[in-house]
């Protein structure tokens, strides 16, 4: 083994392109970012912005056929791009695990939940049947499921959505992964349950010393739980920076539009939410210019003709991709 790398995750120029009947579809294009140990990073964007594909590609969990991945993902020093599934299998569960979006579909409906947790322990850690069962019940308890030894024998259909998502989390945690990919972990749940699940993830992250990639379309979710935020649009990073910078000092009009479209407590009741006009572009018909230009109020001719690359903002680690960035609210204090 080489020395433990300082960064747990280094994503460099990662692109995922699907071969479709309509031609190549660039679902993720030239994404680079990294993650230090015990850090939580948020990936936000509208539906179809490539968040889920990105998180699966980082894990190497993209479909096996009709997909081309280029670039590099170094996960705790292990290259995930172009690696055989048999090798990646040895990293899944122990190095990286995923909490899936919809607990209604991500658990096997005809397998008792205990067996679904056991399986990982027995196959991956070689535990005996008794040990695995005891550990599975411990895990169920850890994720806050009441009377875990009875629930062990339940089928997913006998549990509520929130309980199922706790089971999904228990499965992900079974082999103590160093990195947890949480792909919209609360989207399929009631609002009241969402906060519980997110708090649980936060608590477990601290307790088990994990890093977390939190994928969501809900900026409210990432605001207090992440140290940095990646904003994605049409498969590309359009802004990246510390959570504070992205919220308070964003430069990319898309980021502002996203922020304005989420409800705020400070709004008077019955305030109409601001929506982003138009729809995300068809990834099969991308133009030369900025993908957001057709929906952007600040778009100039240049925006339609030439794609902006990420450029550094005034704070270290904060970059954005825009020809006509919003003025900085910080003034000159940073320089």
């Amino acid at each position: 083994m080489s020395v433990t790398p300082e960064k747990l995750l280094v994503v460099n120029d990662l692109s995922t392109t699907f071969a479709t009947a309509g031609g190549p579809l660039p679902a993720v294009a030239n994404v680079s970012f990294d993650l230090t140990r015990n850090e939580t990073i948020g990936i936000v964007g509208e539906s179809g912005s490539g968040k889920t594909v990105l998180s699966r590609t980082i894990m190497g969990l993209q479909p096996r056929t009709n997909v081309a991945v280029t670039g590099s993902v170094l996960l705790n020093g292990n290259e995930m791009v172009g690696t055989a599934e048999s090798v990646k299998r040895g990293l899944w569960g122990t190095e990286v695990a995923m909490v899936f979006q919809d607990p209604m579909t991500s658990l096997n409906p005809v397998m008792r939940i205990g067996k679904q947790i056991d399986e990982t322990l027995r196959v991956r850690l070689g535990m005996s049947k008794q040990d695995a069962k005891a550990r599975a019940i411990e895990l169920l308890e850890l994720v806050g499921i009441p009377s875990p030894s009875q629930r062990y024998d339940a089928f997913p259909g006998q549990l509520s959505g929130g309980m199922r998502q706790r089971v999904v989390i228990a499965i992900a945690l079974a082999c103590s992964p160093k990195l947890l990919m949480a792909d919209e972990p609360t989207t399929g749940l009631d609002v009241t349950i969402q906060a519980q699940i997110l708090n649980l993830l936060d608590e477990l992250k601290e307790r088990l010393h994990m890093s977390v990639v939190l994928v969501t379309h809900d900026l409210g979710v990432v605001a207090t739980r992440t140290s940095r935020i990646v904003v994605m649009y049409a498969g590309r990073i359009v802004e990246i920076g510390s959570t504070r910078d992205v919220f308070a000092n964003h430069r990319m009009p898309y980021t502002r539009a996203l922020l304005e479209s989420s409800p705020k407590v400070s709004n008077a009741s019955h305030t109409r939410l601001i929506t982003i006009p138009g729809r995300p572009p068809n990834l099969l018909k991308l133009t030369q210019g900025c993908s957001f230009a057709p929906r952007c109020a600040y778009a100039s001719d240049k925006c339609h003709q030439e794609r902006p690359e990420l450029q550094g903002a005034d704070q270290p680690g904060h970059s954005f991709a825009c020809w006509n960035p919003l003025p900085t609210t910080r003034g000159d204090s940073a320089s």
């Binding site: 894990m59 899944w92 899936f100 096997n108 005809v110 397998m111 499965i171």
Partner: protein
Amino acid sequence: MLRYVIRRILMLIGIIFVISIGSFFLIHLLPGNITAVIEGPGASPENQAKLYKLLGLNRPIYEQYFVWINNILHGNLGTSFISQTSVATTIGNALPIDLEMMFLSQILAFAAAIPMAMRSARKPDGIVDRFFSAGSFTMLSVPPFIVVILLVLFVTYKLGIPHTGPSSYVSLRADWIGNLESMALPAITLALGSFVVYFRVLRSDLIATLQEEFITMARSKGISQRRIMWRHAFRPSSVALLGAAGVNIGGLLAGGFVVQYLLNIPGLGYTLITSINTDDYLLVQGIVLVVSVGVVLINFIFDFIINIVDPRISRE
């Protein structure tokens, strides 16, 4: 689950009652006079009338039904007018042959269909899948009586193996190796028909299941492809397969008669055809009843298995 089972059992009793009425009256609708058959040509009308009364055929039909059903509940299916042997004994001799044929053919069909469907579903429209699918589709369009004749020709003439042609049935008790030899061709013929159905049903369900999110989730646990297929994909994909198997196996109980007739295997189907030809209506009635009840029971058992395999069904 328990309530479900009780409800199904009550339904089962009702269905069997309706079947018993059906098979009883159906035979009485048939034309022909049994007394003429028993007494042979040239019997006097007086003697015929006497026999008619002796057999109780002059009593009201509902009385005849109650006598008949009462006997059946005591295991007495009557004595054939033609052969003077007990119908229950005749059926008891023939039924194990059908059951054996059914068992062998289903083992073969599942043993081929399950691994082939899994291989196909791994890469739909890949070379292997196209080959398997085209092959199964070809077999689907060839009826069993053609298959069995081709098989006989191939095995006896090309391979020169005896004991496989017609009139060579060996009973299981007498000589089990000889029995397996004589059962091989009918079992393979019936297996081919079942295999085609099972392969196609399981293949398409597996392809659908493998798209499910819980399969990706299973993959992300780092378990092998093989384990995902058997532990995660197979069970939720097997409901339609079991449904098809239930109907198919029920059909085989009597439906193997073409193959039995062609190969001279004295199973229920074969006996049914001979008894129809000789107007042995008590035997026909008995076989119809046994086969119908058998079909209903098999369907009941498969319904039950499906419920265990997919607990979502009885919960809804």
